[in-house]
């Protein structure tokens, strides 16, 4: 590889991801202005595989909302929703979306189309409450794909088990009902060949996403699991089941393999390798990351990359010979895994700490999201008991700057790194 082509390769995923994002929002803008169909979906189980078969543009309100925070205008949207009646104590994503809807779709990145239909899963209960808001606002169809999760840690059932088959069958029945609804909404017949093509693209993406995450076991880590990976995640959601998405991820694997093979990491010297548990602090996104990188802290993986990709991290690949049954199986296993990443993550974190040779775990529960945050304090206690790995617990929010105290976070983060440094020093002395 020439020096020039190597330079082109490094950072390509970020550049191309940003370009795809612009394309995506341009499409949404055009759809909104032309009054075309659009499906509202969520990151944990978008069911893009079916929606893309019907050529439906997809809107991810969660992504729209976080973009208002990153662009530092979230407070305007939150206040609008609170004036409408929503409590300061509910999910900020919901409120930013309500603000967007009340503004007629006006959003910093594009004009957001109104929903022709919405598709949600039960991976987050607030998805259900959220979609009910659209039902009331627009009186358009809402479809809930109910996906049974793990009943108790370590008791997941798999193919061949009667309970698994009952769950899978339930999911398949619902997917078939969704197809009927899509036919009604779009006026198109379901095209099984096109569906297989969409699944092929989705398989490429799943395989690649799993590989990308594995490659961050390299030292130094080729990408920052908090910042760079949020771009990858956006593409994983918005472009799932598309040729552009599949190609992007193949090229991302190429980039990360090159970086791993050549010891290319981030701009900082990687002193501490960290796992992130929770949802990023989007109101001060860049600064939040710097609070760690200033100490040489590098995020090498996160539960966010698992659940916010709908469990794509498992790398499940659909069987094209029996596509609908296989989609049901894949959705069940992947979304269940996404839920496990939130409710039963302690054992996986302990394993991952070893696989990624991690120095510490950062827990970031947020006011906005009880799905992700409720179990973290107890999970942290458990992880400490089973692994002894150092961890930090800092609370703020993903949307609402009123509950983000940068100074307070910095004090605690600094103290955490001082502890890591002392620990390392002591280990060195003992060694």
């Amino acid at each position: 590889m020439t020096t020039q082509s190597a330079q082109d390769l490094v950072g390509r995923g970020n550049r191309e991801g940003a370009a795809l994002f612009r394309d995506w929002f341009a499409e949404l803008d055009e759809t909104a202005r032309n009054g075309g169909n659009a499906a509202y979906v969520f990151v944990m189980g978008s069911i893009n595989e079916i929606l893309k078969t019907f050529d439906l543009p997809v809107v991810f309100p969660e992504i729209n909302s976080l973009q208002t925070a990153v662009r530092r205008v979230a407070h305007e949207y939150l206040e609008e929703a609170e004036d409408y009646g929503y409590s300061p104590d509910i999910c900020g994503y919901v409120k930013a979306d309500v603000g967007t809807q009340l503004r007629g779709g006006e959003h910093p990145m594009a004009q957001i189309p109104v929903p022709t239909m919405s598709v949600l899963t039960n991976a987050c209960n607030t998805y259900i409450k959220w979609a009910e808001i659209w039902e009331r606002m627009y009186d358009t169809p809402t479809f809930t794909i109910d996906i049974p999760g793990t009943r108790q840690s370590g008791t997941q059932t798999w193919q061949g088990d009667g309970d698994f088959e009952a769950d899978r069958k339930y999911v398949e029945t619902q997917l078939r009902e969704l197809i009927t609804l899509c036919e009604e909404v779009t006026g198109k017949k379901f095209d099984i060949d096109k569906f297989r093509q969409v699944l092929t693209y989705a398989n490429t993406m799943s395989r690649s996403w799993k590989r990308v995450l594995e490659l961050n076991q390299s030292k130094p880590a080729p990408f920052n699991a908090l910042t760079d990976a949020t771009i990858f995640l956006g593409v994983a959601n918005g472009f799932r089941g598309t040729e552009a998405g599949a190609r992007y991820f193949e090229r991302l694997v190429e980039e990360m393999e090159y970086k791993a093979a050549n010891g290319i990491g981030q701009a900082i010297e990687e002193t501490y390798r960290l796992l992130f548990v929770g949802v990023p602090c989007y109101p001060i996104f860049r600064r939040f990351n710097e609070l760690f990188t200033d100490w040489g802290g590098q995020f090498v993986n996160s539960t966010y990359l698992w659940f916010a990709s709908g469990g794509t991290n498992r790398g499940f690949e659909y069987d094209l010979a029996d596509p609908l049954a296989s989609l049901a199986e894949g959705v069940l296993i992947s979304v269940r895994d996404a839920m496990d990443s939130m409710f039963h993550q302690s054992e996986v974190l302990a394993d991952m700490s070893r696989e990624y040779d991690v120095d510490g775990v950062i827990y970031h529960p947020i006011k906005s999201c009880r799905t992700v945050s409720t179990g973290l304090a107890d999970g942290r206690r458990h992880l400490t008991e089973v692994s002894g790995i150092p961890s930090l617990f800092i609370e703020s929010d993903m949307m609402d700057r009123r509950v983000v105290s940068e100074a307070q976070m910095k004090n605690r983060i600094d103290a955490f790194f001082e502890g890591l440094a002392s620990r390392r020093l002591a280990a060195g002395v003992q060694g």
Binding site: Y84, G85, Y86, S87, D89, I90, C91, V94, N122, C124, N125, T126, I128, K129, A131, E132, I133, E135, R136, T142, T144, I145, D146, P148, G149, T150, R151, Q152, S153, T155, G162, D163, A166, D167, K169, Y170, T173, Q174, E177, M342, F343, H344, S346, P365, K367, C369, R370, T371, S373, T374, G375, L376, A377, D378, G379, R381, H382, F393, E395
Partner: protein
């Protein structure tokens, strides 16, 4: 003596109606849950099930006591360190009951009713060795596959319960339990008929306590309690007063402090509500012929009430609230939510907008189960009611 013959609440027997109701109130207000301990002392096993709905017939059929885990007026001294901030109180106080050994369970079940509660089984399970599971009640009851799916989920719960109880649960066991619970549902419906038709015959807090007792004692005993007291309530000669008729909405999970219910009862007639709606979730008799698990599943989907934590396209919550208000001939509604309760707070917006559209008066409030001071709230409620009376 069989366990179902075990009596755990004898204090009300042989007493006047007033004294019997006082005993019920004392039990419900107490953070000790003595009845559960008495059951254990007699050698019984206990299945704790978190709000909102649980098919209690399944654990009842195994001879276990289904215990409604609904928080308590306790400080979460031990539980606090297991949770972060920004959470409702009921999660913490429920776990506190276990961590402080106030109640000892043999299994714990929660449901994916909300983002917080669905974490609870995992948290519980990291702290206890007995089974701590989620019962995945369907969130798509409109799917043609939901009844069959739920039937299998109930069968899974039956198998788990058999392991815990150490005995088989036959279909006939289940049918017998369904009959016991059908009787209980009938009696609870009768209690609510009294509330709606003649609210001056029963104070809000007494009706509340009678329902809450169902979650703390064997259902046969609860049936006996209601069957004895309801006729006595009907025989009362209390005169109707010129009071505002209110519907209270927002008590589906975390319960308002008992004193708040008492305060509302002092100022109005609470003619309907969603307190402990899970106990009254199934609105008709469950069939006893045929497959009992199918019958229970079918009843959950087709013969059930509503709450903010179940999504059913046939039951928009604001429409259901309006029906509840009209059926109870209520003048107004208290639209409440537990602090930090995402579904409750979100539903408040839909409720209030619908009530605005219909021109029905309402009072919006938040509560926390451990609150002890209601002076300010009482003043606000009184002002609200006076405005209605003198409008």
């Amino acid at each position: 003596m069989t366990l179902t013959a075990t009596k755990v609440f004898e204090e009300w027997r042989g007493k006047s109606l007033e004294d019997a109701l006082l005993e019920c109130r004392d039990q419900v207000e107490s953070p000790e849950f003595e009845t559960v301990q008495r059951w254990r002392d007699a050698g019984g096993k206990v299945a704790g099930h978190f709000q909102v709905y649980f098919p209690e017939e399944i654990v009842h059929a195994a001879g276990m006591l289904p215990f409604k885990v609904r928080g308590a007026p306790v400080e979460p001294n031990k539980a606090d360190s297991h949770f972060g901030s920004y959470l409702c109180s009921i999660l913490k106080s429920s776990l506190e009951l276990a961590l402080s050994d106030i109640v000892q369970l043999d299994m714990f079940v929660s449901h994916p009713i909300c983002d917080a509660a669905r974490n609870l089984a995992a948290i519980w399970g990291r702290n206890y060795d007995y089974p701590c599971q989620i019962l995945y009640l369907p969130q798509n009851p409109n799917s043609a596959g939901s009844v069959d799916y739920l039937r299998n989920e109930y069968d899974r719960m039956r198998r788990l319960t058999e392991e815990v109880a150490g005995r088989e649960i036959t279909d006939d066991d289940l049918r017998r339990s369904i009959e016991v619970f059908n009787e209980n549902r009938r009696l609870l419906r009768e209690l609510y008929d009294i509330k709606r038709d003649t609210p001056w015959l029963i104070a809000a807090e007494d009706a509340y306590a009678l329902v809450a007792m169902a979650g703390m004692i064997p259902r046969e005993e609860h049936n006996e309690l209601l069957a004895t007291l309801l006729p006595k309530i009907r025989e009362r000669t209390t005169k109707a007063e010129d009071r505002v008729r209110l519907v209270f909405e927002g008590g589906f999970c975390e319960q308002p402090p008992f004193d708040m219910v008492r305060m509302l009862g002092r100022t109005s007639y609470v003619v309907d509500d969603d307190f402990h709606i899970g106990m009254r979730w199934i609105t008709e008799d469950v069939a006893t012929e045929g497959d009992p698990l199918h019958n229970l599943s079918h009843a959950y989907i087709e013969q059930s009430s509503y709450s903010p934590v179940q999504h059913d396209l046939r039951k928009p919550k604001e429409k259901m609230l309006l029906e509840r208000i009209r059926a109870a001939k209520a003048d107004a509604a208290i639209v409440a939510a537990a602090k930090m309760c995402e579904p409750g707070l979100e539903e408040q917006v839909a409720y209030t907008h619908a009530l605005d559209d219909e021109g029905i008066a309402y009072f919006v409030s938040e509560f926390e189960e451990n609150e002890t001071s209601f002076d300010q709230l009482e003043l606000q409620v009184e002002t609200f009611i006076e405005n209605l009376l003198f409008a």
